[in-house]
C-alpha cells in the first residue's frame, strides 16, 4: 500500500456515464487481480473522502486503468479530470482473487454484473493465461451499458462469454444469474468455482444458486468506505459466526476483503446504504 500522486494520462467516456481513467505513477505498484485503489482529484475540497475503484487493468507497474460509473459527487469530480491532471491515490488495497486454489478438473465461472466487471477483467486475463477452463457471464442493464462496463475488453480475451441484458437489447434477456443457474444445473462431472462481482442483490442471488449446487463461490463486496486501509471500521459486512452477536460479527470490506467466500457473508444484512 502506498499513498502517491497519479498523473492522468486519459479519462475517456466509453458511453454516457461510464469512463476509463488511466494514471501514470512514478513508483512501482504491484496490483493483483481484484485489488482496488482509493482515489481523489488532488485539488478537490469536496467531497472529502477518496473513492474506491478496482484496478481494471495494469499496463506495467507504473500505469493503471480504472473503469468507473459516474454516480455522485466523488466520481463526478473524477470525471472532470483532464490529461495531466493530478490524482491522490492509495493503492493497492484489499485482498485478491484466489486462483491458485483451483484443483485440476475444476473450471472457473466469472460472473460480472454491471460495473462489477471492473474488478474481474484482470482475473479473466489471469485465468486465460493459466489455461483454466473459464466461462464469463457478463450482465448489464442494456447493450449501451455493457459497452460502458468494458464488454469489448472481455470479448477480446477470447474466453467463452455469455452476455445478458435486463432489457434484452443485447444477448440474452434477463439477469446474469439465469445462465449461471443453467450452467451449474447442466454441468456434468466438472466442478465449478464461481467468482462474482456486482450489485449486492445479484451477489446474494449468486450465492443462493452456488450453495444450492454446492459450488465454491467467491464474491467481491462493495461498502461505503471512509479510509480504504482498515482504520475507520466503517466499511463492514456482517459475517456468519458461532455466537450471534460476538466480537467477530463484522468484517472490514477494505482489508479483510473486498473478496469473501460467499458462504461467510450474512446476505440478510446489506453492507450498502439502502
Amino acid at each position: 500500500m502506498i499513498d502517491t500522486p497519479g498523473i492522468v494520462e486519459s479519462n475517456d467516456e466509453l458511453t454516457t456515464g461510464y469512463r476509463l481513467l488511466t494514471l501514470r505513477f512514478d513508483q512501482d505498484i504491484n496490483a493483483r487481480a481484484g485489488q482496488f485503489a482509493m482515489l481523489k482529484a488532488s485539488d478537490a475540497y469536496e467531497p472529502l473522502l477518496r473513492r474506491a475503484l478496482a484496478v481494471y487493468r495494469a499496463h506495467g507497474p507504473r500505469r493503471l486503468s480504472f473503469l468507473y460509473q459516474v454516480m455522485g459527487r466523488g466520481t463526478e469530480a473524477l470525471s472532470h479530470l483532464g490529461g495531466g491532471g493530478r490524482v491522490e491515490a492509495l493503492v493497492p488495497l484489499g485482498n485478491s482473487w484466489p486462483v491458485d486454489t483451483l484443483a485440476p478438473g475444476e473450471r472457473a465461472v466469472v460472473v460480472a454484473g454491471g460495473i462489477g466487471s471492473a474488478s474481474v477483467l484482470m482475473l479473466c486475463e489471469q485465468l486465460a493465461r493459466a489455461g483454466v477452463d473459464t466461462h464469463v457471464l457478463f450482465g448489464a442493464s442494456s447493450g449501451r451499458v455493457a459497452i460502458g462496463c468494458g464488454l469489448e475488453d472481455f470479448q477480446a480475451l477470447g474466453l467463452p462469454l455469455t452476455v445478458t441484458t435486463d432489457d434484452g437489447s443485447l444477448g440474452e434477456k434477463g439477469f446474469v444469474t439465469a445462465p449461471l443457474e443453467r450452467m451449474l444445473r447442466e454441468e456434468r462431472g466438472a466442478r465449478s468455482v464461481v467468482y462474482a462481482c456486482g450489485p449486492w442483490v445479484m451477489m446474494r442471488r449468486v450465492s443462493e444458486i452456488t450453495s444450492a449446487f454446492a459450488a465454491r463461490c467467491l464474491v467481491s463486496l462493495e461498502a461505503p468506505m471512509g479510509c480504504g486501509f482498515g482504520v475507520c471500521v466503517g466499511c463492514v459486512v456482517a459475517v456468519n459466526t458461532r455466537e450471534p452477536l460476538g466480537y467477530n460479527s463484522y468484517r472490514r470490506v477494505c482489508i479483510d476483503g473486498s473478496i469473501f467466500p460467499a458462504e461467510a457473508v450474512r446476505w440478510d444484512v446489506s453492507a450498502m446504504p439502502h
Binding site: 500500500m1 502506498i2 499513498d3 481523489k40 469536496e46 467531497p47 472529502l48 473522502l49 477518496r50 491522490e88 492509495l90 461498502a223 461505503p224 471512509g226 479510509c227 480504504g228 486501509f229 482498515g230 482504520v231 475507520c232 471500521v233 466503517g234 466499511c235 463492514v236 459486512v237 456482517a238 452477536l245 460476538g246 466480537y247 467477530n248 460479527s249 463484522y250 444484512v269 446489506s270 453492507a271 450498502m272 446504504p273 439502502h274
Partner: protein, 314 residues
C-alpha cells in the same frame, strides 16, 4: 524560508511539548478511532515523526459494533456510527503493545465503557500493559445507547467517573469532552476539579442524514457523530472557552487537515492537537502537519511552539 526545517529523521526541538509530565516530540497526534491501533499507519508514515496517537476506544471486553451502514459523507464532513467495535483492552495489551513499543512515539489508550465499572475494569486491564503513556476517557461517544455521551452530557456524572478513574491509575488521565453541551466550560471545570490531568476536545457532534427516496436514515444506527472540517469552527471556539475556564493542558481536536488548522487550535489555547477524519482522505496528513509547523516557526521566528499556546490576541 524553510532552511532550518529539520530533515526527515532529525527532530525539530522547537515543536516539543509536555502534557501531564509526558513529553511529546511534537504536538501532532492521530485521533482515536481514526488511527486504528497505530500500526496500520507504519507503512504510510514514520510513526517516530509524530507526537503520538490515541487508540481506537478500548473496552474491557471486545465489542462487535453497530450493523452497517456505519458511515455517510456530508458536506465538509462525515457521520459515523461505528459503535465502538474494538478488540478489547486485553487483546490490545497482548497483541498490539509489544509491536508499538518499538516506536518512539506516545501511546494514549482511549477507554470506553457502558458504565463506570466498565471504564474502571478496562483501565485495570490496561494498567498491566507497559508503554501506555496516558489514558483518554471517551465520555463523549454518541454512537452507543449507554455510557459515552450520556456521561459526557452531565457535569456530575463526568466528575464522578473521573474521580473513580483517577483512583484506578497513576498514569496521566485525559478526559475527552463532548461538544453536545450547553456549557462546555462548566463541564471542563467539573472534570478538572475531579482530578483530570488534561482535557481533549472535541468529540463528534450528533447528526443525522436521511435518504429521501427510502425515507430511512442513511446510517443503520439512525444518528451518528459529525466530524471533519465542517465542525472546526465549533471546536476552535470550545477550546478557546475551555482554555479560559481551566488551567489544564488541552488537546485540540476537530476538523484539522492542515498546519494552519492545527495552529488555530494552538493559538486558541491547545498545547497539542489530534487529527481525525483527515487521516482517511490524506493518510500522511499527520507528518505533513508536523513539517508545516516547523515552517511556521521559521517564518515567524518562533523558538518554542509552547510560546504560541493560548497566544490569541483579543
Amino acid at each position: 524560508m524553510t532552511f532550518t526545517t529539520p530533515g526527515a529523521n532529525e527532530r525539530d526541538e522547537r515543536l516539543a511539548v509536555e502534557i501531564a509530565g509526558v513529553r511529546f516530540s511534537n504536538p501532532v497526534m492521530g485521533a482515536s478511532g481514526t488511527f486504528g491501533y497505530g500500526l496500520e499507519f507504519s507503512e504510510l508514515i514514520d510513526l517516530n515523526r509524530i507526537g503520538g496517537f490515541s487508540t481506537k476506544g478500548l473496552s474491557a471486553r471486545p465489542l462487535p459494533g453497530n450493523p452497517p451502514p456505519r458511515i455517510v459523507e456530508t458536506h465538509g464532513g462525515m457521520l459515523n456510527a461505528i459503535g465502538l467495535q474494538n478488540i478489547g483492552a486485553r487483546a490490545f495489551v497482548e497483541e498490539k503493545l509489544p509491536a508499538l513499543r518499538k516506536y518512539d512515539t506516545r501511546i494514549i489508550a482511549n477507554v470506553f465503557g457502558y458504565s463506570d465499572e466498565d471504564y474502571i475494569e478496562a483501565i485495570r486491564i490496561l494498567n498491566d500493559g507497559n508503554g501506555i503513556d496516558a489514558y483518554e476517557l471517551n465520555i463523549s461517544c454518541p454512537n452507543v445507547k449507554e455510557g459515552g455521551i450520556v456521561i459526557g452530557g452531565s457535569p456530575s456524572a463526568a466528575a464522578r467517573l473521573t474521580e473513580k478513574a483517577r483512583r484506578a491509575t497513576a498514569r496521566p488521565l485525559i478526559v475527552k469532552l463532548s461538544p453536545n453541551v450547553t456549557d462546555i466550560a462548566e463541564m471542563a471545570r467539573a472534570i478538572a476539579g475531579a482530578g483530570a490531568d488534561s482535557l481533549s476536545l472535541i468529540n463528534t457532534l450528533v447528526g443525522m442524514s436521511v435518504d429521501v427516496n427510502t425515507r430511512r436514515p442513511r446510517l443503520n444506527f439512525g444518528t451518528g457523530g459529525l466530524s471533519g472540517p465542517a465542525i472546526r469552527p465549533i471546536a476552535v471556539r470550545m477550546v478557546h472557552e475551555v482554555a479560559k475556564a481551566v488551567d489544564l493542558p488541552l488537546i485540540g481536536i476537530g476538523g484539522i487537515a492542515s498546519p494552519m488548522d492545527a495552529l488555530e487550535f494552538i493559538i486558541a489555547g491547545a498545547t497539542a492537537v489530534q487529527i481525525g477524519t483527515a487521516n482517511y482522505y490524506d493518510p500522511r496528513v499527520t507528518e505533513k502537519v508536523v513539517a508545516g509547523l516547523s515552517e511556521y516557526c521559521d517564518r515567524h521566528a518562533v523558538e518554542s511552539i509552547t510560546s504560541l499556546v493560548g497566544s490569541i490576541i483579543r
